[in-house]
């Protein structure tokens, strides 16, 4: 066996050992790369996610951040709440900036992780061109979209990722159109790795970031990030809200490695027997006074997603 092959096998073995060992939160590294001095809102799930993303990525990582809640969460100059370099860049430019940075590091022989951490507005709307370009070019980076389903930083205006029926400050009567299906857009670029995640399942997120960063090429993780002020629920319910999203199969946890789909843990059960969608809808002020017709459409959408992903996982497309 060549030295390269031995190195590869031992890396795989280490990954398996590590995966087995990281089946509970206590196995996640104690090192913190996101300090407690953030400017996040109370009950913010995106900063919770960022904490685990950085634990998985480790210190040799750079975060590229377009305009989004994390622009604020990281704190004001000259302070920073992060213990990794954070490169702030214009709203539409995150994936392109990361492209250049990734190539610069490759030129210098550095293996530093380049991770975009962007909100839904900067991903599905204004940043989608740069995202598409970077994925088409095969850029070696990880793009994470934390999706709170509206422009949170500017005070909750609708984004392309806002779901049908949700009230925002620019859809005071409820959004008349459906949430843009970002994952199918990303999937069309055939990335080697893409996954969904949710702030209520940090271990699942941690493992996905680890796995993504072990793969060469463009990787994508889409995190559902419940937002107390935007979704209008009490701050202490953030984890519960994420769990409800998954249990009702409103949000499905999966990963797609080199095109092969795997439905993850809690979503397997939820897809077989989803919890009542009402539980999710009624606990959020943004869906107040939802008409029965809109509610039916939402339920149909959940059912369609379940069927589509079930068929794909079973290999029946």
């Amino acid at each position: 066996m060549s030295g390269n092959r031995i190195a590869k096998l031992s890396l795989q073995l280490m990954t398996i050992i590590e995966e087995r060992s990281v089946n509970n939160l206590s196995a996640i590294p104690k090192e913190e790369y996101l300090y407690k001095c953030t400017s996040a809102c109370a009950g913010c799930s995106s900063s919770l996610c960022l904490r685990y993303v950085l634990k998985a990525a480790g210190p040799d990582s750079v975060l590229v951040v377009p305009a989004c809640c994390t622009s604020v969460i990281q704190g004001m100059y000259p302070g920073t709440a992060m213990n990794v370099p954070v490169y702030n860049i214009a709203f539409a430019a995150a994936a392109a900036c990361a492209s250049g940075m990734s190539d610069a590091f490759a030129t210098l022989g550095r293996e530093t992780n380049v991770i975009v951490y962007a909100g839904d507005g900067g991903t599905v709307d204004i940043g989608i061109q740069a995202l598409s370009g970077a994925f088409e070019r095969g850029t070696n980076f990880l793009y994470i979209c934390y999706d709170n389903e509206a422009y949170g930083n500017t005070g909750m205006q609708r984004s392309g990722s806002t779901p049908l029926g949700a009230r925002t400050t620019t859809t005071p009567g409820g959004k008349p159109t459906a949430k843009k299906d970002l994952d199918r857009i990303v999937e069309a670029h055939n990335p080697p790795y893409m996954a969904t995640a949710c702030s209520a399942y940090p271990l699942d997120l941690y493992k996905k970031v680890k796995k993504a960063l072990s793969i060469e090429g463009p990787k994508f993780i889409h995190i559902l990030a419940p937002c107390p002020p935007g979704w209008r629920y009490p701050t202490e319910k953030t984890v519960e809200m994420g769990k409800l999203a998954v249990k009702t199969a409103q949000w499905i946890l999966y990963e797609r490695e080199f095109g092969k789909l795997t439905i993850n843990g809690p979503s397997k059960a939820a897809m077989k027997k989803p919890a009542p969608l009402e539980d999710y809808i009624k606990s959020q002020g943004r869906f107040k006074n939802l008409s029965p017709e809109i509610f039916d459409l939402m339920r149909q959408q959940v059912e369609q997603n379940i069927q589509r992903l079930s068929r794909e996982e079973a290999g029946v497309c």
């Binding site: 250049g100 610069a104 370009g133």
Partner: protein, 370 residues
Amino acid sequence: MLTIATGNKAVAAAVKAAKPGVVAAYPITPQTEIVEQIADYVTDGDLESRYIPVESEHSAMAACIGASAGGVRTFTATSSHGLLYMHEMVHWAAGARLPIVMANVNRALGPGWNTWAEHTDAFSQRDTGWLQVFVGTVQEAYDATLMAFKIAEDERVLLPVMVNLDGFALSHIMQSLETVEIGDFLPPFHLPHAIDTENPCGYGPMTGPADYFRFRWDIERSMRDARGVIADVEREFAERFGRTYGPTEDYRCEDADVVVVAVGTLGKEAEVAIDRLRDEGIKAGSMRLRWFRPFPDLDLSGRDVVVIDRDYSFGFGGVVAHSIRSKTGIEPYSVIAGLGGQEVTYNDIADFVRNRRPGEETWFGVSDHV
């Protein structure tokens, strides 16, 4: 090595000599030949660089920003609408203090579509914090591009540099070109604030008024220091390679009663007009403005000045005429000419001088003729 080349090929040859780590670019007429030539160099192994074929100019500059911050020499090229499309990132590059070099092939703006020479594209970026130089010959396109890297990367500057050359009138014109062995003219790339994961910092986070204001002053301070750095680099270039440049290129100005100030190829055309006028006994000279940012100090006192603007600031006037007026106090004869590639010959320029009306403005061939 002596050869012949277009303005575009000369820029590409200088980039090859400068060995950037990353080139990110998007095609646009009349710049495309630059990035095609660089892609050829990279593919053929003549340039060990990463060429990122981005999906837009906004992303071209964003990728250059990421790469430069990552610690490598970086280049891009654009023109006209491409420059305007990346405008947000043009500001960002300067604010982030990144020594990116960009060639801008000056071209008119739509509508209607027009791919010919005009300077309005570059002047619309004059307040971004970029250094801007305008060239008049193929040789100068090569030399200025090489020097741009050294000027931008000087720790007293650390600002991006835009090398401007006229669309078609220079980008596609063949002239002689002497390429050089640059040796150690360009030191290895070193950016003091390059991203270092062992010293994690926040780059460009939320910044309050007091700090923000200080950062803006730092940019201006570097702009002022850049005048000296430019002079040093141009002097060193002359010593090493034998070609001399300055903030302006003055032609028969010493005893001139009237001086034509122009930018780019029109400034070279003016030199021919000056010879004609001198033959008639008119003591004329020309001053081709090379550096526009930082704007040089000009000695024009006691003469009539004819400014040719291949640009316009609507509702106000020619950008160069206004700059001359505000910097020198002289009321020039302002001629707006050459917009959208309008042909302006040395005979026309000689006419501007003969028929000058200081303090007035005329649109050549459009408003009342000179």
